[in-house]
Symmetry: C2
Subunit: 458 residues, 2 copies
């Protein structure tokens, strides 16, 4: 009897459980960003651990120093390969006035599941779990271990520590997996699966300049007093061309790997549309509307952004004083093969040369990640997506940086694949978030196929 | 009998009244900036009006739409010239932790008078009043009218309206004076009188740029999304050279009147010291320490300052989002013969050329003012200062802009002279503010002499 003979029936029979569990998960408001929700986040970890246990897994809530994480797995077979399934069960806040339902009250309407976290990332997590249960029951020779984080929306500050401490139970630590599959990304369009194979890195920093010890009157001192805000503006202008976005730090582009022909082709085949992109992010003005250029800029080129300038007057009207000190908060998205440490050195040296009185300090770094488009895991993902959704996925990249992914790559040196199930109209990070049974049921098929495929890799 | 025979005796005999009245005035906390002090400001106006009336003046508390003002005068003689004495009776807040006394409890120690407002500007106002009383009693043929404002520290928003409505009493409006004397400025050093004869003008504005309708994720959109903060930084850099302070707006310097030889000489003779200046304003870094250059920059050259950039993230740490809109609050100090309206047009046109999506809006304009160093009022002031303080005043300029002065110049087209009595160590706008009997008693002599001198001008 083939692995797949009973799959459709299993999926159909799983539906009531999928819906009741997703409802239970969604109704725990696991908003990791909100200190007042600390207990809810912890309760959310317990609830999902109970679901894992109900499916026969060993599951443990692991203390990390911040919000806990949940790790789980079934009986370990040393001669089978191991995959880590990564999801996160914390959610974004849901304060937007556009919510037409209580965001933490689960509801079902026409195969759609409403509530904060349905698509990001509780629905995909439960989809992966039910698929894993099927694979385990049908003796797919693969150790499947889950790592479910509760701090993804706040940048995974304790993920590394949590991984180090994690025990699945009965004294069993996490296995170093042969590969990782992450289900937390968004397709570019419904009906057209997209599988990112790369993430940009990140380098955050702040620049501070102090020229006095108290606010000065711009009449009594202006012309002689140095204005730290004006000086920071000048430095920012020297770091990036505001119109084109081209970074001006000498040596910044030296290690940027040119976009391969295959990558560029994948991008063009992805179904990406500039208008949908701009609409989704509410951008009214873009640097360019050229489709190929937009994708290249988002996925394969580095950036330099200013996020805030503090120190000056920010109230209503004008106050004509010169601030004694100012700070610029900046960040750079990095692409292969830029090294954050090296870029930070270039940046600091350059700023010091431009203005020796400015202090430059780092606020964190993440390396860029790019997977192997040609390798066996990409092939397995392609097969799985075609099996689940009747179409091959577009291999694209992600412009963002997922801290947990970089940590897993660094910890385990294993390939990371992205089997995402969210659609653009699911309202990821937006009001009226939803998931749907189509993505869940087809996602289960794809996951079962993926587990099967990678269990047979050497 | 000469006017001056009884003056020293009058001044000595006035001392108890000076001290008791100054105490009464200081103990009303007329903090115009603090909405909670609204009633105190009004009470302060009544108290000083009572003092004026006690000296035989007609005095009226005039409604302005904001805090009131007080106008006063003695019997009007149509064949005498008229001088307006301008002071303000509102004070700065006194929240600094360095206060060693209750700022609104008056105290006397070694000829020094302590309390908020003693030197700025209640002490000088009372000095001028007691001198005026002497001049009136001794039949100096001069109509002396007082205009005492309660909104100077908040930029005189209702001063013009107040002047228009002001009635001294008995149906008598304010006379259009032949000249104005302002007593509200600070010497550069004790023992060396300084008389400003010019003020810089002001042009305040804000620039706004919107590129999206909500915050964007810098990973998901960075490279394509326009960053309004970065673009404003670029425009600011094009408007001013941060290092030198040189303004880059085309045509900006065209109408700047070159500093005359006589002015430059007066500046150099003023006793101005760069170190004292930097210490007083707590400036730890200056654009230059060259003495002549510092004075020229402060008093005779225009500026361009950024006071605040809003729109970005200003909390702790870094938030890597791209703001949808940003605002830059800027101002320019202007010097003769720059016209604020003309400069604003140049500025707006230039910004639009640099970045057509930026909106430029004005937040108020004040024309620069420069008096006539060679005229008879300057000569009278010189004679008066020499009579009161045994030294001629240094004629300097003020880098700031006093809205009321520009309004009086525009309303009356009369010369404005500055007979200030505050010393650098009086703590003007600073903690432990004080005045002293030396400046008060000598100031009365100077004022009497000044009234006498100008009463004899054609």
């Amino acid at each position: 009897m083939s692995l797949y003979d009973g799959l459709d029936t299993y999926i159909e029979e799983s539906r009531p459980r999928f819906e009741s569990w997703l409802g239970r998960w969604v109704e725990v408001p696991t908003v990791s960003m909100d200190p007042a929700r600390r207990d809810d986040v912890r309760a959310g970890a317990s609830v999902v651990a109970e679901s894992l246990q109900a499916l026969g897994a060993l599951a443990t809530v692991v203390e990390t120093g911040g919000h806990p994480m949940v790790v789980a797995g079934w009986e370990y077979h040393a001669d089978w390969p191991t995959v880590t399934v990564y999801n996160h069960l914390d959610v974004q806040p849901a304060m937007e006035p556009e919510w037409t339902r209580d965001p933490f009250k689960f509801s079902i309407e026409n195969d759609r599941y409403y509530g904060r976290g349905t698509t990001d990332d509780k629905g995909p997590a439960l989809t992966a779990l039910l698929a894993a249960r099927y694979a385990i029951e049908h003796a797919v020779p693969l150790n499947i271990q889950f790592v479910w984080e509760m701090e993804e929306e706040i940048g995974s500050p304790h993920f590394k520590d949590g991984l180090a401490k994690a025990s699945i139970g009965h004294g069993r630590g996490l296995q170093t997996p042969d590969s990782v599959v992450v289900s937390d990304t968004v397709w570019l369009a419904g009906g057209k699966p997209a599988a990112p194979y790369g993430l940009r890195g990140l380098l955050a920093a702040h620049l501070t300049l102090e020229t006095a010890t108290r606010e000065a009157h711009s009449g009594l001192t202006g012309g002689v007093a140095r204005n730290p805000l004006t000086e920071l503006c000048a430095v920012i202008d020297r770091c990036v061309d505001a119109a084109s976005g081209r970074v001006r730090i000498p040596g910044f582009y030296k290690d940027v790997r040119p976009l391969g022909k295959k990558d560029a082709e994948q991008f063009l085949a992805s179904g990406f549309q500039v208008k949908s992109f701009a609409d989704a992010h509410k951008l009214t003005k873009l640097r360019t509307r050229d489709r190929a250029s937009v994708m290249r800029r988002l996925w394969a080129e580095p950036t330099f952004e200013v996020h805030g300038l503090t120190g000056g007057y920010t109230g209503p009207g004008v106050k004509t004083s010169i601030p004694p000190r100012a700070e610029a908060k900046v960040s750079m998205r990095l692409v292969p093969d830029q090294h954050p440490e090296k870029i930070f050195s270039l940046f600091r040296r350059y700023v010091r040369k431009l203005n020796p009185d400015i202090r430059v300090e780092s606020d964190g770094m993440l390396r860029p990640y790019v997977g192997d488009l040609r390798g066996p895991y990409a092939a397995a993902l392609k097969t799985a997506m075609r099996f689940g959704f009747d179409r091959e996925p577009a291999f694209i990249r992600e412009g963002g940086s997922i801290g947990a992914v970089v940590t897993m790559v660094e910890q385990w040196n294993a390939p990371v694949m992205f089997l995402g199930l969210s659609l653009p109209d699911h309202g990821y990070h937006a009001p009226n978030e939803r998931f749907d049974w189509g993505q869940a049921s087809r996602g289960m098929k794809a996951f079962v196929k993926y587990f099967d495929e990678i269990s047979r890799l050497p």
